[in-house]
Subunit: 294 residues, 2 copies
């Protein structure tokens, strides 16, 4: 599916692996060297094997706008802290009650429910501490980043999506996933652009791209839950087990796949319309979402 | 116990009541008018009858340094959002498993455990959104406020205190309460001072005062848990039920009371040494902590 124009000497897989390692080196620096039990629980989920999709999009968007990737590093780290907290709380017995995450026992299975709740709370809090303190950013940029992340993650964004997910009778599954997955992915794009000092217009364009990719991401998750081969590490058919409404259940498997590809193609067109001057691999990364099985 | 010098025409009770109403008017503005289930759960704990100790100290410190109280309002609100989230998560079945808070059913008893976890998450997130967006503050002040709140509330502060509280064999109960209660109360003082543009030296002095008062606050909570008459709304002897280590259990009731009074008096001396020029009622408010039973 990767178009000719986006081909470079490195394969996208090698490129992302190198970027991931660089990011994870920075991530480890944020953790206390002599860890308390609480900090071990935070580090456990933060350092699970992961594609690091949100931080890598954030860093790549910053570079695509001629920013240096270190300028987007606080944003990239904060996004991963928020994502990790959401995984821990989402897996809790009172929520999805999952035993495995990325092939490993979930946080509360290892550290107990109380400490898992607290580890999530601490990761969320630390995301904002990182945005306020890390790196060399102007105060105005820090405030914009914190506005973007808190709006995306809070009661009008990701947490609202999680809450909608509790309601089995929910009408609008697309709205649910725009909140639950789309808002934080959109924030990844927007925060990368903010870090590079982008215009308001550019922030809005990147927000739209991130929201659409979040939807693709979630539809494809549902597809993988049925077809398997996923690296998300949940047991096959776990959505079925939890009686969750999914795109596949709503639309059927083939229609869901078609829908994901259609939204992805529209998003790529939108991305091309931005006419980003600096060489970047955003387009390949967007396609890569649908290739996560490999 | 109130010293002559601090007497004014209004009783401290009337003064605090008026300030509390003013603050609560602002607080309600932060809540969505047509509330989702999630927002109802957030509002439920946020709007429980409360002394609003943290926000009122924050506003009073700002005024004592010649700031206008509206400048400290974002800080005051963010503190109350963080405090409310901590109550919800602290009461959860996996944590203290409390059924009553301030005489009312706890959040998870009303809204269920999943939504209570999410309501806590959303309140915490919104605290930072408020600091990034509300009022008319310079970006530098916003960043300082967010640094202070995130450090006080996170894995080196309040959440660490909560985590220490899980460990029954804990050696240092004073350290626990400095983290669990002291850090957020200290942040209330420091954030009020930041909002008024205070010097670094003044911030450090106020931090010390807040930490000490947090300790007094917690010792007195333990005393009230034994003696009753408390308005914290927990059933009498709830610490005993939970087999919690308390100051009263460690020191005995009379020694705990003496210790609280001793720290309080030292704190008042420290407060006087600041020679705050603007008329303020911080001293009376500090004494008021030990009068909560009335």
């Amino acid at each position: 599916m990767i178009p000719e124009s986006a081909q470079t000497s490195d394969s996208i897989t090698d490129y992302l692996k190198a970027r991931r390692l660089l990011f994870e080196q920075e991530l480890v620096q944020q953790l206390e060297p002599s860890r308390s039990g609480l900090e071990r629980a935070m580090a456990y989920t933060l350092l699970l094997p992961s594609k690091r999709i949100r931080p890598l999009f954030c860093l790549e968007v910053c570079q695509s706008l001629l920013g240096r990737s270190e300028e987007a590093m606080p944003a990239a780290m904060a996004l991963e802290f928020v994502h990790s907290y959401s995984l821990i709380h989402d897996d809790l017995p009172a929520m999805d009650d999952d035993e495995l995450r990325r092939g490993q026992p979930t946080n509360h299975r290892v550290f107990g429910e109380a400490r898992a709740i607290l580890a999530g709370d601490a990761l969320l809090t630390k995301a904002f501490e990182i945005l306020a303190m890390c790196g060399q950013l102007a105060d105005g940029l820090r405030v914009s980043l914190i506005k973007t992340l808190s709006s995306a993650a809070g009661d009008q964004g990701m947490v609202l999506g999680q809450d909608m997910d509790l309601d089995a009778k929910l009408k609008d599954i697309r709205e649910l996933h725009l909140k639950k997955t789309g808002e934080l992915l959109a924030a990844s794009f927007v925060m990368g652009a903010i870090s590079a000092g982008a215009s308001q217009r550019m922030l809005e364009d990147f927000r739209e791209i991130g929201l659409s990719l979040g939807l693709v991401f979630q539809i494809w998750d549902d597809v993988l839950d049925v077809e398997g081969g996923s690296q998300i590490g949940k047991p096959l058919g776990s959505d079925e087990k939890n009686q969750k409404r999914t795109f596949v259940r709503d639309m059927g498997l083939e229609a869901a796949k078609l829908e994901a590809r259609k939204i992805l193609n529209e998003t790529i067109l939108k991305l091309r319309s931005l006419e980003l001057k600096f060489e970047n691999r955003l387009e390949e990364m967007a396609y890569y979402i649908l290739e996560r099985r490999h």
